[in-house]
């Protein structure tokens, strides 16, 4: 049996819009504008298994939100096919809506002037739950998301952290099989971020909900998603387990060296090594592992410096992702 929740094949989306022709007059620009076409998503294919936690990442304008909007039926693809839970979002938008949940970090779906409980009830009615089912589900979500202390407060008076918890809770009222989250932790403080991530892990574990998430926050990706798909300029750059993401893209290692006394001079380093930090009490050396092995680098450093302590570590995932984005320049 095929347990793929999402199957995307050769998916593309093009947008066209008028652009100002600098050499033409304003009348021509007004009535006969030049039309520019951009490929927001260009021939991407991937699939997501039921119960998976997938990060769909990329720099601004990479095509993440456009892809999510096509997966949820908001936008119609220009080419290619999508199957979400066996349905075509462009044709079966209403049927699909009963099976998926969505959270857009930059947009609220709650009723701002009414207590949170009214918003939850509103979504219950929208998803055709009976009054009894709504009552039971709200009680479950209040407990799961710890909403009790502010359930009767008008939504406009909630803190951002409380509101995001409420947004996720409301998107789960109908027990969706997949939840799409577009930058759910944007603007949250570290405590609220952790709390939201823990909750998402919990619903993935307890209710088997598939998580498909876009985020610029490396913490979301590292702590929440077992798999990462990288998109840039509309094309798929990488699709691999999150743990391997750092490993396969590491081109550099960092070595912190603490001196026996102090560093008085900073001699020139052998090829493949360069200083990142030069201080009397500590230096940090960047090792280009494509030119020199870590073992060789350590041997050379020990020959140059009188060392008290040494610490070798990898580039952060954030730096890995940054390098990945930077090394994939826009197509002309």
């Amino acid at each position: 049996m095929n347990n793929d929740s999402i199957i995307v094949s050769s998916l593309s989306k093009r947008f066209s819009f008028p652009v100002k022709n600098q050499s033409a007059g304003w009348v021509k620009n007004l009535f006969v504008p030049e039309i520019k076409e951009i490929k927001a998503v260009d021939n991407i294919s991937f699939s997501v298994k039921s119960g998976e936690r997938v990060a769909f990442i990329g720099p601004n304008g990479a095509g993440k939100s456009t892809t999510i909007k096509m997966l949820t039926g908001i936008l119609f693809p220009t080419a290619g096919s999508i199957s979400v839970l066996g349905l075509d979002p462009a044709k079966d938008r209403k049927k699909l809506a009963y099976k998926i949940g969505t959270v857009f970090g930059q947009r609220s779906q709650l009723l701002p002037n009414l207590p949170l409980t009214d918003s939850l009830e509103f979504f219950g009615v929208m998803y055709d739950l009976s009054d009894k089912q709504i009552k039971i589900r709200i009680a479950e979500l209040v407990e799961l998301f710890n909403l009790g202390s502010f359930i009767n407060q008008p939504v406009r008076k909630l803190s951002l952290g409380q509101r995001m918890r409420a947004e996720v809770a409301s998107s789960l009222i109908h027990k969706p099989e997949i939840i799409f989250l577009d930058e759910p932790t944007i603007g949250l403080d570290v405590v609220a971020k952790k709390s939201l991530r823990d909750l998402l892990l919990k619903i993935n574990n307890e209710e088997g909900t598939t998580i498909f998430l876009t985020s610029h926050d490396v913490g979301d990706i590292e702590s929440l998603c077992s798999r990462t798909i990288v998109i840039n300029h509309g094309t798929l750059v990488k699709d691999l387990p999150t743990q391997e993401l750092a490993r396969s893209f590491i081109r550099e290692k960092y070595v912190d060296v603490t001196p026996e006394k102090t560093f008085d001079s900073f001699p020139e380093l052998p090829s493949g090594l360069r200083y990142a930090v030069k201080e009397k009490n500590k230096i940090t050396v960047v090792v280009d592992i494509e030119k020199i092995t870590t073992q060789e680098a350590l041997r050379k450093l020990l020959n140059v410096f009188e060392v008290d302590d040494i610490d070798v570590y990898n580039t952060s995932l954030e730096a890995v992702i940054r390098n990945m984005y930077e090394s994939n320049p826009p197509r002309s």
Binding site: I74, F76, R93, A97, Y98, S108, M126
Partner: protein, 264 residues
Amino acid sequence: MMKELRFALYATKKNIQGSAELRTSFLTNIAGMAINNTAFIIIWVFFVKSVGVVNGWTSADIIGLLGFGTLSFGVVFSAAAGIRKLADYVANGRFDHFMLSPKNLLVRIATSSFNASGVGDIIFGIACLTTYALLIHASIYQVLLIVLLIAISTIMFLSIAVAIYSVSFLFTDANPVTSGLFELFFTPSIFHGGAFHGVTRVIFTFIVPSLVVGALPVEIVRNISLEKLLLVSVLSFVWFFVSLKLFSMGVKKYESSNFMTFGG
């Protein structure tokens, strides 16, 4: 169908509750609109008293005309006020939320907002039509016609509103265009019915169907004209299906956007 209706009624209830939370604004809007309409009717009644009966239109007919016009306006733009926000929803990307709803898209949008001032129009419209029925000493048959014509003019009003605001899908910042088109439709619908004859009557019946909202219903009630009743019924249903088609064609052109928004 029942599920759609249950949701539409529930959404309207929540919209009214949400609007009533801001009590002062809620009550001021209702009272303000009733006062505004009263001032408007006083002007027309004095106009008719000064110039006399024009093409058979008395001051009672003007009261009936404003009754049909304001009642259909009030019903559509209070309970289905979301239609009027369509241009904003499309421009700021909030339309995305409605696309994610398992309910009929048009019902979801229509019931996404409530306009308290529309309640003022409803109250005023009912008061006008009651006064009209009393002034013309309406028979039971005419009272039933008034009730039927309220439904027909409201369907026509709703259809034209949907058709006009569907323009929002065609280009960014469609507000000035939709407002202009709406005025083109609405202003003649509450204008002295005796002013339309010949070509203007044909244009404002068949091309811009403003007269179907108020003037023709008044003439139907006054003259008990079954031919005109058939005409307004057919026109309303034709426009209803045309507006649904225009709306669904517009949705296919929707291209989302990424502005930050708030509210359900």
